[in-house]
């Protein structure tokens, strides 16, 4: 059942707020977890040092011991491990990570890393789609192509894309080419099969109706099968783009590490975990907003999929479409 609009927005908000609330609780409510003690004063404990994190049990033991001996007790406060920064630290990192220059001149800034990743995924996905979409439509439309292509593709898609890493480097060098190739290998074969299946689901009655109206052969594909399945293909592409992000992380490890994966690894090495979280979330935000944008674009491209055209309210798309597509 369709929920009212207000309820829907509220639930969407809640789906983000609930995990955030858990994170806040663990970070700010001291007695919930905080398994370590951050030392502020060494006292008379030899192996403690200022700014050192020790396990709570060790701290308590040493504290009891100094009290019993009458020596100076250590001081400190409870903290979480360094790999779990608090929300405000990560929030700050969103800003500072972009502002902080890299430690070495040769290293990229965060925005450069992100740009590199987006470029890689863009070319990988475009190249894959350039061949995958037409081939998928052919396989879905004609049994001949389906029989000719799909058994091999079905086999090939079980070969994990990362397994081709070494080969890709040997053939394409160490720059971005092998990375793009891995995204293509990871996406292309799924793409052909998924789109082939979508195209096969076109209502046969529509094809028959077109045949009785005089359409045949290639006309059927161009004027009926493609428009009938284009909205579902579009949805498939959105899902496939999500998978491509997964392959991106794999691809960026191949050869010389690059892009956002490189940034994350460097920051983890420097133990800047707030930056690591910020970068990971950056991927989520880019992917999610990209999908939202494509969904919005879809309602403009496919007006017949809209529930109903609200009589008086003329949307942005209704004004734009006549300019783009002559009636």
């Amino acid at each position: 059942m369709e929920l009212p609009r207000k309820r829907r927005l509220l639930l969407t908000l809640l789906s983000f707020l609930a995990p955030l609330a858990v994170w806040c609780a663990v970070s700010y409510v001291t007695w919930l977890w905080h398994p370590l003690v951050h030392i502020t004063a060494q006292g008379d404990v030899d192996y403690f040092a200022e700014d050192m994190d020790v396990a709570r049990a060790d701290f308590d033991r040493e504290l009891a011991k100094t009290r019993a001996d009458g020596t100076a007790p250590p001081e400190g406060f409870r903290v979480n491990p360094v790999y779990l920064p608090a929300p405000h630290e990560v929030a700050r990192a969103f800003y500072t990570a972009f502002k902080t220059p890299p430690r070495m001149a040769s290293e990229p800034w965060l925005h450069e890393s992100l740009g590199h990743s987006i470029r890689t995924i863009f070319w990988g996905f475009v190249l894959s789609s350039l061949f995958g979409v037409p081939l998928g439509i052919l396989c879905g439309s004609y049994r001949f192509f389906s029989r000719l292509q799909e058994p091999f593709i079905e086999f090939f898609r079980y070969l994990p894309a990362p397994a081709f890493g070494a080969l890709c480097i040997a053939i394409l060098g160490i720059d971005d080419a092998p990375k793009i190739a891995i995204i293509v290998i990871g996406t292309f074969f799924q793409q052909v099969l998924v789109i082939g299946n979508t195209v096969r689901k076109v209502d046969p009655a529509l094809i028959e109706a077109a045949q009785t109206l005089g359409a045949s052969g290639w006309q059927l594909v161009r004027r009926v099968i493609i428009p009938a399945s284009i909205t579902d293909i579009y949805t498939d592409m959105r899902i496939l783009l999500g998978w491509a992000w997964t392959y991106l992380i794999v691809a960026e490890v191949v050869g010389s590490m690059s892009g956002i994966t490189y940034f994350i690894n460097q920051q983890a090495r420097y133990r800047n975990f707030d930056n690591v979280y910020a970068a990971i979330m950056m991927i989520g935000i880019i992917g999610f907003s990209c999908d939202l944008f494509l969904a919005w674009l879809g309602t403009g491209l496919f007006p017949w999929k809209r529930k109903s055209r609200s009589g008086s309210r003329i949307s942005f798309w209704d004004r734009l479409r006549p300019k783009l597509i002559p009636a």
Partner: protein, 298 residues
């Protein structure tokens, strides 16, 4: 069996004369010994066999029969969407080998193209046949005017009611100028009131357009109201039981529903479609008590 005053074969001289005139017209569709079998050689199931008939120009033929008599398969073969196992279908003397624009089709389910506006749907066939876009556009407008949907030419199919969708489907099929319009239970999914409207709509359109109609239905009254001749099919195996001349004079109207001709035809169709079934001893069935409200149901 049939009392003389309720003889469905009795018709007024005017109607008889009309049938004589119809038989003078050229034959549009000729079916000879058509047979359709499904399945393999040994496990073959015969959908129907021995179907032969001639349909004259501008005749309105209704096909009725119980489910399983193969009436849908029969018209799919005429439309060229299925292949016959035996026999031929001749359209204007030429054998039918596949679907084509000379046989328009209106399906029971709504088969308008959802991605095209109403006008573009009607233009589809015209453009497939190589007509110029501007020509197709103006012709499509004329057809939409005929089915009374000019106001909706820029709407998408999902914005129309069921009856309107079928009107667009009829306009789309007729726009191609088919020799014969094949309709497969086109109004079965509509509510009773809309169906009545659509039936009289169809008769009006048929009056204005030079087209022969082959109309499948399972509704006896619909067949009696619309048809010149009613092709009655039977089951096991599917075959033609009778090809009845409808004695009800034209123009048709709901006022005729109590006329002797109409009632006689309906009675005959009813007799053919629903043969009397021996009702077993009801008392053998156990009584299922659902409430304790009492047994006084009659």
């Amino acid at each position: 069996m049939i009392s003389s005053e309720f003889d469905y074969r009795k018709m007024s001289p005017a109607v008889a004369e009309r049938f004589a005139r119809i038989r003078q017209r050229p034959v549009i569709l000729s079916v000879r010994d058509l047979e359709k079998r499904f399945g393999s050689e040994e496990g073959a199931h015969t959908a129907f066999q021995g179907v032969s008939l001639d349909i004259h120009r501008r005749e309105f033929i209704c096909v009725i029969g119980p489910s399983g008599c193969g009436k849908s398969t029969f018209i799919r073969i005429v439309a060229g969407l299925d292949e016959a196992s035996d026999g031929v279908v001749l359209l204007d003397g030429k054998a039918v080998t596949g679907p084509g624009p000379d046989r328009g089709m209106v399906f029971q389910g709504y088969t308008l193209f959802p991605w095209l506006t109403v006008r573009a749907n009607v233009m589809f066939g015209l453009q497939m046949c190589g007509k110029d876009k501007l020509v197709a556009e103006s012709e499509a407008r004329e057809w939409l005017d005929m089915v009374g949907l000019t106001k909706f030419e820029h709407s998408y199919p999902h914005e129309l009611s069921g009856g309107m969708k079928q009107r667009v489907a009829i306009a789309r099929a007729l726009a191609n100028g088919p020799r014969i319009l094949i309709m497969d239970e086109p109004f079965a999914a509509l509510d009773a009131q809309t169906r009545c409207q659509m039936q009289s709509y169809l008769l009006q359109i048929w009056k204005k357009v030079d087209v022969t109609i082959l109309f499948i239905t399972h509704d006896l009254e619909e067949a009696a109201y619309l048809a010149d001749r009613v092709l009655v099919m039977g089951t096991n195996p599917g075959r033609v039981v009778e090809f009845i001349d409808n004695p009800v004079p034209r123009p048709r109207s709901s006022a005729q529903f109590l006329s002797t001709e109409y009632l006689a035809l309906k009675a005959r169709l009813d007799e053919l479609i629903h043969p009397p079934v021996e009702v077993g001893d009801e008392d053998l069935l156990p009584m299922v008590k659902l409430t304790s409200a009492g047994d006084d149901v009659e």
